[in-house]
Subunit: 356 residues, 2 copies
């Protein structure tokens, strides 16, 4: 195995000093035209390409950031990644994607690994962080990053706001669920149900808050019996809804924690001969591709996922460049997509925005 050509080979080939080669290649300092040409020629003939590792040895910069996400399944998080990696690709910074499984221990261990890797920054999308106990340990590993002599900047995405001093980008879930509830209430529905994700306590809290606030304004309230906790798959939605109906509960509006659950709920309704939206109006959440292909298509709140990624990337970049000290929070709004699962008259055009 032949050795890779190094800068010293180029220098030898061109008959100039290493310093000169460096100057030419980094456009630093002035070099006489003839030398410059000779250097370029030597680069050509040797097939030289700078070793990025050695280049960063001094600066101890890696030109690399990491995105830690709960899961690569589905499109919610990968859309966020899209925003992040596009932003950093422009800046010649590579993005590494790590999957935590939504598991706090794994997240912590990944973060420790990244620390050893001397990564330039981390965008962290935490999984469920319900249990106070392990949350403490978790926060420790994060704050450790900031207490280092050379801190690794961290930007949180879609996390609750408990960690006050970290940058944060998230969707205003409370407002979004408020909007969904208001939409149903405006349509005259009063007996609303909520199908939540037991594993995402933080989202459930915000959703309930939003829904309750809307219902109060319409002088009604959310019955505890109509609040169901499952996981967040199609199957869970189906089962939760089926159980509600089996128990003799029959809401006239169902707000689901995401589009998958809504799709499942829709199925359960159909099975019982209930029509949507006539008998039961169903709303999803997230604006995933599948929300448009169900029958009827599901009314949902579209989360600006890629935009979240871009915003987070921007915040992180400011930190990496040392351009900002005080923490910032960016709260983005989800926007409604009204479809036939709540309004029969809804615009029926197949939307092209989702090309999952």
């Amino acid at each position: 195995m032949k050795k890779v050509p190094g800068i010293q080979d180029v220098a030898a080939e061109a008959g100039v000093s290493i310093s000169t080669v460096s100057r030419v290649l980094n456009h630093s300092g002035n070099v006489a035209d003839n030398l410059r040409r000779r250097v370029y020629k030597a680069v050509e003939s040797t097939g030289y390409s700078a070793n990025p590792i050695a280049s960063n040895l001094k600066s101890t910069k890696r030109n690399q950031i990491a995105v830690v996400i709960p899961t690569l399944r589905g499109t919610y998080y990968t859309d966020i990644i899209k925003g992040v990696s596009e932003y950093f690709y422009e800046k010649s910074i590579m993005s590494v994607v790590l999957e935590s499984g939504g598991n706090m221990e794994k997240e912590s261990s990944i973060i420790k690994d990244l620390e050893k890797q001397w990564i330039d920054g981390i965008i962290l999308i935490p999984g469920q962080c319900g249990q106070e106990e392990s949350y403490r340990k978790y926060m420790e590993s994060l704050s450790h990053l900031r207490k280092r002599d050379t801190p690794i900047p961290v930007v949180l995405v879609e996390a609750d706001g408990r960690n006050e001093d970290l940058d944060l980008v998230r969707v205003d879930h409370e407002a979004a669920f408020y909007a969904m509830a208001e939409h149903l209430l405006e349509l005259g529905r009063r007996k609303l149900a909520y199908l939540g994700d037991a594993e995402d306590a933080s989202l459930v809290g915000l959703a309930l808050k939003g829904i309750r606030r809307a219902m109060e304004e319409y002088d009604c309230s959310l019955s505890e019996q109509l609040v169901c906790m499952g996981n967040s798959t199609v199957l869970d939605g189906y089962q939760s809804m089926a159980r509600l109906l089996y128990d003799g509960q029959r809401p006239d509006g169902v707000i689901c924690t995401n589009d998958q659950v809504a799709a499942g709920a829709l199925n359960a309704c159909k099975e019982q001969g209930l029509l949507s939206p006539k008998d039961v109006a169903v709303t999803g959440y997230g604006g995933m591709a599948l929300s448009i292909v169900t029958d009827p298509p599901i009314t949902t709140m579209v989360a600006p996922r890629q935009q979240m990624g871009t915003a987070a990337a921007q915040l992180l970049y400011e930190r990496i460049e040392g351009n900002r000290e005080e923490p910032r929070r960016i709260i983005l709004a989800a926007h409604p997509a009204i479809r036939c699962s709540t309004m029969k008259s809804a615009f029926r055009r197949l939307e092209t925005m989702f090309d999952d």
Copy 2:
């Protein structure tokens, strides 16, 4: 800004030589117990963590591979990434994900960038490589990687087999489409249509080959009028199917290039009052999450996406370690998921395998 503790600080703190610290930390060579203890203590007190950049300076290894994919949208490619990154995470090798937009020029430029980055290996999922002309330039950039003094190994995923000497992992699409056609033919359907993706000539070719082979065996053939080319979104499927019906063509079976197109086609049928599967049986392809939430759920071929990723990662790792010289191809089979869009009696259980 304080300096990061380096190995020399640890050495000073422990009152030993740098060499000794290195030996202790890398478990290389024997060190007296008392020295070893002092080193560990010094590591603790200084908060030392090895600089991964400097560690690899000699070996010029980066412990980093790249996955180049057409798009981060949807779940098809991200599922492949999941397989890849899990495999390499175990090996302490980071995976970087780059999005090419399915654009050959961008792909080439990304690959050039990666070359400068001295990445240890590349898993490449090419976009459409229809046009012979630009394909040539493209192959050049690939073969350049192999002709370097220190070649960067490349594994292709879901590419056609034109590049004979590269490792390759893909699904046997011809067999899969053959199976879909056979399924419809077995159900007595004879007037089959095919909705393809104009931008993926390679897939179209294989699909048509498979479908035609199956039809021949049933003594019938595919009418050219029932072959439609669009793109691959829900909307395209809707439009293609609508056009067919508008033209007075009415197939009794429709084979779609993917699940999105099938979902769209299903919609168009419904709009014309056609029942599925009674009037028209519709099949999708890929086994995406949305195939299960449509009404009726769509019969599809499930592509082993994560498995492809793992297989590709394995091949790449062998190359990186220099354990193999001769190129290998791994062809995986897709497996059918029969649903109500083709057989009314199909098992109706909501499958949990898709939790998009």
